[in-house]
Subunit: 419 residues, 2 copies
């Protein structure tokens, strides 16, 4: 069998465990020198392929590649860049082929979410569209947990563990301050369209009256009157109210709250900050003292509180991607299949890329309580396994010790190309 | 020796380790039944003493009291309530004495910051002012780290470890996104007057070019032009810029930035949010894509990433408070004395309460670089020991498992009293 080199790239918003997938890909490829030569990583995702900026991962030590398993974010650089259709930008595809040819690349591993799956799908079709033989395998990744077919998406479990832990801790704080100070606390989490991360906040509540008391999902139209009534009832019954809100909640007009008239009174939409919007509303309508937090990047980079299940799945999917490629397959995304809830058992299946690309998986309605303000038992049964287990990184000088790779690129063989 | 009961209360903003001090007080008191009877904890701080809501800690199990060591926030409830002067509100002091008499209380342990030290000082003077014999000992606590005499304040080390870890993790995230997306990230941390928490963000930077690149301290007047120039230079040199900012930074007019004209354009001051203020400024003046986070309560309640040194000191100070009381002393605050930086060695000394009350300790100017945008080696030598060691709480169902006490109050013996 002829030896071909491999291209690996990270795409879209990064996560606490995408580098664990990278470790899975690189370590597994290194075990098959008879089939895979060098794994080149694209500097800043697919852009690195277009600009011929190929990081030679063979120059990275065994220890450093292993350390990727506990290092958050994209070690090779990620990008927000979606290939246009072949018709719209044929030059880009021809350039990709030039670069692949110049560096003898026969394997393409793309680590990303829905948009990236679409890019990977287009690359997987290069054989038929432009006659260049390549095997493109997509490695799933997204904190939004919105990819179809797979039971969950690597990156989500760790964000879920982070937000559940954080809102529980903040809840204890507010409970002790409520008598004379803060009565309402709002935590804004990610999830522009799908409420999976907001739902994960709900895991912190394990009994009547425990925080969070209210969750606001992007799938549920924001009902101001019902919300305020619930907050008031909660403060009167429990002395305080802790709220988890998705950055993407919309009002009855279908507008993002962070872009609604409400916001204009004290915050431009581009600032994000639906939490302060909600906080202001609570203060103006109910007069309760509030505090709010916006986790933003902290939630998706919090490798220090990563879910062990998430780390294991991220690594296993990178590993599986290489095995699938070595079996001669193309246009596939390895996916997690749930075998049972408790104890959680899972294995990996092969999903056709065409069924994954550009499909968004939202929260099923029966995962949200009828009143729209919390999660159901069915949702807990789904979410709980994904945050199980701790996988603390090594600490040095009192802080997590993460690796920074050499990221040395190979000599370019082609003329420059501007993206 | 006659047996007297003890009163313990938590005051002001809570921390990740104030309950460790409570455990130190209660467990140590339980070892001296010949001198200390029951430890009554005030429900919601000093207010519990005034309203005669006394939690009987003898009804809490040995395991639950031990679990306080790894449980964040104030298990008995805290309060923001400062006793007025004897002249201004004699009735409150007379009420305290009635309650203390009714429940045979001879020891007063108050766990709080500067304002609380003042309350504790006033209580310690009840013998001379109103002829009631009591020993009042103050147990230091504040994430602001602004108490005098003591090397540091319990609660601060854990916030320091949290913000250093979080800004490091977010820094890795931004570094991987910067090529095509976010170039500037801003983390807002607590510290209205003192920049200790902002300084702790600086520990994440262990080499040239590492994040955070810029720190904005409340002790340094915000110079918009110099700041923007530094941000621009940083993005041009490193590709991105990570900023740690104190909620309390002020402009040249001495106004909080979150209350300045800047803010009005897109955010009322009461929303807090100096991070979005800075973010907007960066976007308008430099045009860089940004993200921002506001940690708020998450930072001071993050027991999951607490500093072991901080937990140990919090417990030891609670323990010391009881020992000092048993030696017949009054009007004292046990304080941490640093014996050496590396390896960090410390012991506990006795600080006269009159030297502690209402004194704020700010960052020494030589802890901040000349340009005002980062910390010096002297500051690192001071801060680094305080975040050493991990003390992870037990996990259950994938989340930290914290204790909630019974909090059963004893029967009231006196007529109601309204605060």
């Amino acid at each position: 069998m002829t030896v071909k080199n491999a291209f690996y790239a990270q795409s879209g918003g990064v996560t606490a465990v995408i580098n664990a997938s990278a470790a899975g890909v690189i370590e597994t490829a290194r075990q098959h020198p008879d089939q895979i030569g060098t794994v080149y990583a694209g500097r800043n995702g697919i852009i690195g392929a277009l600009t011929e900026e190929l990081i030679d991962t063979s120059l990275e030590s065994v220890d450093d590649i292993a350390a990727l398993r506990h290092t958050p974010s994209g070690a090779f650089g990620s990008c927000r860049y979606k290939l246009k259709s072949l018709e719209a930008n044929r030059a880009e595809y021809e350039r990709l082929i030039e670069v692949f040819k110049a560096h003898n690349i026969g394997y393409f591993f793309y680590n990303g979410g829905g948009d990236s799956a679409d890019t990977c799908l287009k690359v997987s079709q290069l054989a038929e569209t432009l006659g260049y033989p390549i095997q493109a395998i997509h490695v799933p990744k997204t904190v939004d947990n919105d990819l179809p077919i797979t039971d969950c998406c690597p990156g989500f479990g760790s964000v879920a563990k982070y937000v559940a832990t954080s809102i529980r801790e903040a809840g204890f704080d507010v409970a002790s301050m409520a008598a004379t100070s803060t009565k309402v606390f709002i935590l804004e989490v990610m999830g522009r369209h799908a409420g999976w991360i907001t739902a994960a906040c709900g895991l912190a509540n394990e009994g009547e009256g425990q925080p969070p008391h209210i969750l606001l999902f992007p799938e549920i139209e924001f009902d101001q009157a019902a919300f305020l009534a619930r907050v008031d009832e909660c403060v009167k019954n429990h002395g305080y109210c802790v709220i988890g809100v998705s950055e993407g909640i919309k009002n009855s007009a279908g507008k993002f709250l962070s872009e609604s008239g409400l916001t204009d009174a004290f915050g431009h939409a581009q600032l994000g900050g639906v939490a302060p919007t909600i906080a202001k509303l609570v203060q103006e309508e109910l007069g309760y003292k509030y505090h709010w937090a916006v986790a933003d990047y902290l939630q998706r980079s919090a490798r220090h509180i990563a879910s062990k299940v998430d780390v294991d799945q991220a690594y296993a999917l990178g590993q599986a991607a290489v095995k699938i490629a070595l079996e001669g397959k193309n246009s596939i995304m390895p996916a997690i299949r749930r075998l049972q809830d408790a104890p959680y058992e899972w294995d990996i299946i092969e999903a056709p890329l065409k069924d994954v690309a550009n499909v968004e998986k939202f929260m099923p309605r029966d995962f949200i309580t009828e009143d729209g303000f919390h999660i159901t038992q069915a949702c807990r049964d789904y979410l709980s396994p994904l945050i199980q287990g701790e996988d603390f990184p090594p600490f040095k000088n009192g802080m997590p010790h993460y690796v920074t790779l050499k990221r040395q690129t190979v000599a370019k063989k082609l003329p420059p190309f501007t993206v």
